[in-house]
Amino acid sequence: MLYQYVKRYLKNSVGTARIDFEWSSLDNIKFFAFMEKRYDLNEISKEISEVKVAFKDFFEPVGNIVFRYKEESGIKFKIFPYRVEPQNSQHLNNIVKIINNNRKQIKYLSQGDDDQIVILGKIRREVNKELFDTPESINTKELIKYALRVALDLNDKDIITQLKRKYIIKIFKQGNVLDVEEEVLVTSKKDSNFNGYTAEQIEETYKDIFKKGNANITYFLNSVMKHILRNDLSFKTIDNKYYEAKSLRIIHKQISKELMDYIQLEDDYILGISGYIIRKHFSEIHKIMAIDLIKYVYEKDANANKFLLYYSGKTMLIDNKKYIIPSLVTKEGQQWNISSLIGICNSWMNIKIRKESYEHKLSDTQKKIQEINKRILHIKPEREAREKTIKETQKEIETFSKTHNALVAKFKQVESSSLNSTEYFELEKELAISNEHMQELEGVVNEAKMSIKSMKDANLTVYTELEFLTEQKKQLLNDVKAQTQNINSKNSQMDPIIESIVKVLMARTTLA
């Protein structure tokens, strides 16, 4: 049962499947040492397809693997993100059909404020058959969830989770967009519950995921928010109503999605971790959004401008109800003068963009310097190798010359006495061969000498280029330093503005 044995090994040695996992040569050695306790190399080679399937299935929750095996070198593999989106899957229609043909296998339950749908096993088993051994590069879990959304006509708000092997769908009842009750899963201060898990339960996992050497939380949040701000929450297109109603859910959904791609844990637990992350990094997340909004205002985007100007602190009347709009206020509690706020932001953005441009050029220059240093390192051993060849070949020539010269002398002797003798013809042949060999040896020496000469010429160009780039790097470092100083001095004006924008983004329009 090679497949089972390998899966067991991976579960115990790798632990959780991760998209950034790298299989080293040490892993390779350890793996085969373990395998050879029960199977010899021949058996493993014969059934390598079973080993491959075990690896593929283990990493299936996070990505597709490209797997190579050679008897001499063992296993090499790499994990790639899935390429096909669920909506483009060739299996989608069939899976939707399976769900529709097995409606009896769907249980509808009512649970207080929300309804629940439970998908029973027969549907899952039929779907497993459909997806068995598919060559399509797709996350099958996401595909099944997507198919469920299509077949059952679910809303975006409805959440599909997988508990052990069951798919459970929470149907959220529609609510008033301005009734902004915090999502249970997310940030209610009253609620210390994260999808049924406490903070203590989640904290250890959180620390493990984001510990040193693993993923970095700042990088993770930036990556999540970058995606959201370019797609579902772009300040170029959304309005404040949409933002207040949907932003937290969108963030929660995207964090959950990225965690699911990265780690293998039960979905409902991941939803809990996402809620925990949002609460723990609530300010950071809103700061990223604040800076993004400032950027679009700087680019004079009309929608972003309108979005920012909304935060006037005024009162709105809707359906005979009074709502108070959050307000952009200074630390002293006074309403910001929007023109001067935007003026300061623009000035700050100018410096920021200039600084980023210099940093970019600096990074390019540093890369070029690294390349040149690599070339220099490469040249030295090559030259030394050529010099060694010259030395050794010259020594060989010296030794061979003795034999060659003796042959020449003998030939001359025979030539003068018996031109037509057998001995003469034999010696003539031998001498021709010896001459050829001598020429070959001299050829090797000449070639090596020419190679050294061209290396010297190349060397000269390389050192000149290095000098130029080093000078350029010095200049750019100064430029970056200058812009950094500028931006730091601007920060004293900018920080309170960012803080005000963060506060309004975290706040909500409320009933008066």
Binding site: M1, K7, R8, E50, V53, A54, D57, L120, N128, F132
Partner: protein, 126 residues
């Protein structure tokens, strides 16, 4: 409904599905088309648990060797049993030769994956 029996082959186990509740799978499992081979067994079980189950169902599994696709099918098999375990009394005996470590470990893995099922490991001497 009627009992069903599938004879063993070089690549597939002997399968006995009895309406009195005694079910057995004995032999090796590495068929060419796993889902196709086991489809009759899965359909029979679905029908059995749909109002035809005996008071107690005992399943004896003695699988000496199985490949990856069989492993996935067995997963679905246990999944079906687990689904019906709340309303039915189901006992599963995973029987292995005491010298077949792989078979023993496979049984342990299934027990871990299906905590709600009553699976017993039964060792037998060769």
């Amino acid at each position: 409904m009627e009992s069903l029996k599938l004879e063993a082959t070089k690549y597939t186990p002997e399968i006995n599905l009895n309406t009195d509740g005694v079910i057995s799978l004995v032999g090796k499992s590495y068929p060419e088309n796993t889902f196709e081979f086991y489809a009759p067994m899965m359909e029979w079980l679905e029908s059995y648990f749909d109002g035809n189950a005996a008071d107690t169902t005992v399943i004896n599994m003695e699988i000496i060797y199985f490949n990856s696709s069989s492993s996935k099918l067995f997963f679905d098999f246990f999944d079906l049993l687990e689904e019906n375990a709340e309303e039915n009394t189901i006992e599963i005996n995973w029987i292995y030769d005491e010298e077949n470590e792989s078979a023993e470990e496979a049984g342990e893995d299934f027990i871990e994956d299906f905590e709600d099922l009553n699976i017993k490991l039964v060792s037998k001497s060769s």
